[in-house]
């Protein structure tokens, strides 16, 4: 659902090759799998794309939680289609990461043993149906804000995956806002649920852009390599500016007493999320970290016999074909 921006490492590289590589990026050329690239570029991409892929997959869990309890058959079909899209997004991204020399199963193992992370937003629970609205509207909304500029990222396979994903993402946000409209314009109790969902998801959504990158040198490297197209703060501001009028239309209150339009800047002023909470959730102490990892581990372990069985069947059939020839 979203690319958490990751720091890159500078490495000692052949200066001529590096210069030629950076000139290609400056000229707007795409880097393709077999092209020469600095080790730091490859490593940063594997982590960023891998983490993005894991986020799409783990991101199915909070919404999957409501599929069987959707209020109507239509809402259920919509939510099912949305969650299926997220599985697809995960697959596009694993494929993009695989072009860099890491396998999908390897990436999965790294997620399961904690070497790789996924977006911290998915460690928050979805308590009511209104949360399906808030997740689509805010979480997919923030994801879109992150993903749209990444369509122009310098690595070809990543860029192409992002283009496919962005095409599908707009439906996600709109179906979420549609749920919010139904709730906000419904009974007083429904409106309270909508407000409560906004209250709980506002700051976690702001955290999705990552901490302020003003001081980060690594972030500058990723920007230079066009692995990252905007700073976290730019994207967060853009998200706030776009989302506040949408909340106003719903008649809901953004849970930030300091939120105010700043005429001079032409942007909203807003409160930063609690970054100590962000780092704590990232460390594994969010409300649902343990549940999410357990669900992924269980799915992987219980799917083992299916993966093995289908592989054995395919090998047997291939052997028979050879024998018949």
């Amino acid at each position: 659902m979203y690319a958490q921006m990751i720091q890159s490492e500078a490495t000692a590289e052949d200066p001529d090759k590096l210069a030629a590589f950076e000139a290609r990026i400056a000229a707007g050329e795409k880097i393709e799998p077999k092209d020469w690239m600095p080790a730091g570029y490859r490593k940063t991409l594997i982590r960023q794309i891998g983490q993005h892929a894991h986020s799409e997959i783990v991101g199915q869990l909070p919404e999957g939680n409501w599929i069987t309890r959707a209020p109507t058959l239509e809402r259920k079909a919509i939510l099912l289609a949305k969650v299926q899209d997220e599985a697809g997004h995960g697959l596009y991204l694993y494929c993009a990461a695989e072009t860099l020399g890491v396998s999908r199963d390897e990436l999965t193992e790294m997620l399961l043993d904690g070497r790789m992370k996924y977006s911290s937003i998915f460690n928050y629970p979805t308590l009511t149906w209104a949360d399906m609205g808030a997740v689509g509207w805010l979480v997919d909304g923030a994801a879109i804000m992150n993903q749209v500029p990444l369509q122009r990222t310098s690595y070809g396979p990543y860029s192409r995956a992002m283009i496919r994903i962005c095409k599908e993402e707009s439906f996600h946000q709109r179906q979420g806002y549609d749920i919010m409209m139904k709730m906000a314009f419904g009974t007083p109790a429904q409106k309270r649920m909508a407000q409560d969902a906004l209250n709980r998801f506002w700051y976690p959504a702001l955290m999705m852009f990552g901490p302020s990158d003003k001081e980060s040198v690594h972030s500058a490297q990723s920007m230079a390599w066009k692995i990252k197209m905007n700073t976290n703060d730019e994207l967060r501001q853009k998200f706030v500016d776009e989302t506040v009028p949408q909340a106003e239309y719903l008649g809901l209150t953004v849970p930030d007493p300091d939120l105010k339009w700043n005429e001079e800047r032409g942007h909203y002023d807003f409160s930063e999320p609690d970054w100590s909470e962000f780092f704590d959730v990232l460390k594994g102490n969010g409300p649902c970290n343990a549940d999410r990892m357990e669900a992924r581990q269980q799915a992987w372990a219980e799917g083992q016999w299916v993966r093995d069985g289908l592989m054995a069947h395919a090998r047997k059939r291939a052997a028979r074909r050879v024998a018949a020839e």
Binding site: E32, P33, K34, D35, W36, A81, Q84, D85, G88, L91, Y92, C95, A96, E98, T99, G101, S103, R104, D105, E106, P157, R160, A161, R164, E168, R307, D308, L310, M311, H313, A314, R317, A318
Partner: protein, 112 residues
């Protein structure tokens, strides 16, 4: 979105510490509309060709993007290498006379 890279097979994993029983990688080509060529859209893992086509249906055509699907195991694809770029394409660069604009045809001759 794919590794058209016959050197790196998911199955040939000597370099990896633990042997994985990983499904092979398939490249997926889709004909978007009648009359168009198949186009590479990405890749996926599947145990065999039948499953690869089914998975391609689910992964790459959820919104009517295709009328026909081809899959081929990634290790069967041979690709030119980026360092060949110059020598491989050079012969066509010097042959300007292969383009219609090389020839000046007088207006009097009419449309050609």
């Amino acid at each position: 979105m794919s590794s058209v890279n016959p050197g790196a097979l998911p199955q040939s994993d000597e370099a990896q510490p633990k042997k994985r029983n990983e499904w092979p990688l398939w490249e997926v080509f889709i004909r978007g509309q009648h009359g168009m060529s198949h186009r590479h859209v990405g890749s996926l893992h599947a145990p065999d060709a039948d499953m690869a086509i089914r998975n391609a249906r689910d992964v790459y055509t959820r919104r009517n993007e295709g009328v026909s699907i081809w899959v081929v195991e990634a290790r069967h694809i041979a690709a030119s290498s980026p360092s060949d770029k110059g020598p491989l394409y050079e012969p066509s660069e010097s042959k300007v006379y292969r383009h219609p604009t090389f020839y000046d045809i007088p207006d009097e001759a009419g449309h050609m």
